[in-house]
Subunit: 223 residues, 2 copies
């Protein structure tokens, strides 16, 4: 048992060091970066499809899409105008700092202002692996149900921003928003939250304004 703990600690220590390297590289190039995490199908790629076209005249945007198979997500990110890099994890259930480092080598960093990393669809494992990005964004969605903060506390506890996607489905699904928000508040008090619908566009503007402010402010302060 002791051996096993040491192995885990070594892996996590190595990941954290590489994440710090990634962060330093991003900082050096004044690139603001986010790590998008969510359940399968919550809307990470749809959020990118709503974000890139709205901001691409203001910022040069790169997307890194992690998936266990296929390039469906990277193709969708590229289709809306991001410089997209696919990471095929080969079955792994999360991205780690090594994978992001390899992806960064394929990106024209001096020509990038905003990096969006789309993690593998999974509410558990991605939360344990720092990538070096500046902010972690969790995309929840109405059809997943209102008990998810209670059932997946680790990821809710560790993020900087929460997006509640698919609010257009609220009339058709029993979802107690108050119960959901109480769970979030308990784990992550005051968490910045954007309820929105990538399908109808409702609420997306608030998210875009927040993100634009972050990228602009980061460019200033990191110089």
């Amino acid at each position: 048992m002791k051996d096993r703990i040491e192995v885990v600690e070594n892996i996590m220590g190595a990941n954290d060091r590489l994440a710090a390297d990634n962060r330093a590289k991003l900082d050096k190039h004044h690139i603001f970066s986010i790590n998008l995490m969510a359940s399968p199908g919550a809307g990470k790629t749809s959020l990118i499809e709503n974000t890139v076209p709205a901001l691409k005249d203001k910022f040069r945007i790169a997307a890194v899409d992690g998936d266990i198979a296929t390039s469906i997500d990277a193709d969708r990110a590229a289709a809306v105008g991001a410089a997209a890099v696919q990471i095929n994890t080969g079955g792994e259930c999360h991205l780690d700092a090594v994978m992001l480092r390899q992806a960064l080598n394929q990106i024209d960093l001096p020509q990038t202002d905003l990096l969006v990393v789309e993690n593998v669809g999974n509410l558990i494992c991605p939360a344990s692996f720092a990538l070096g990005t500046h902010k972690s964004v969790l995309v929840a969605s109405i059809p997943e149900g209102d008990d998810k903060p209670y059932k997946y506390p680790g990821i809710y506890r560790g993020v900087d921003v929460l997006i509640i996607n698919k609010i257009d489905l609220l009339p058709y699904i029993p979802f107690r928003m108050e119960y959901f928000r109480q769970g979030v508040e308990m784990l992550n008090p005051g968490l910045k939250t954007f309820p929105l619908s990538c399908k109808t566009g409702e609420g997306v503007q608030e998210w875009l304004e927040w993100l634009e402010l972050q990228v602009t402010a980061f460019k200033e302060t990191s110089k």
Copy 2:
């Protein structure tokens, strides 16, 4: 690298041996068992809530609910009449054969006909760990999107039955059923599939009839 592969092989070998032990124990007691897997919020617990009340006069049903935190699911399974055992995985992203073995020790096996194991909400990791159950059942859901077979091939390839839940939401979501089914067919030709809605009850009867037939047939053949 060689060491790492050997460690992984040892872990998987040990898990497979324990899974075989679990299976032998279930067979000995003539208990038909299923391993329910799905994304977070696809409807595993809702399926149990639709299944147990309908079959509990015919069979004695036990439920094992795996979760990384809380007993929400086991409480829901118990509320509808199953003998429910909670496995708190302590952060682990999947159930394994050791955890099921521990749960089986808490179940009155001679008084059980059907065991429903609800895995942790995750489309990746649970597919890699055999538990010893007789059939693997994947619960997909309409809001997850029609590209999931293509993006999570491992789990679609390895299951015996597919439930497509939340068909009541089809009018509100762009979901190309033909595209989804083509992906499934490519990975798992002829896979037994039940489109249904745990909310409206549509299609649930077909699933119940299939399950009832399995439990009855297993009781006969395992004697």
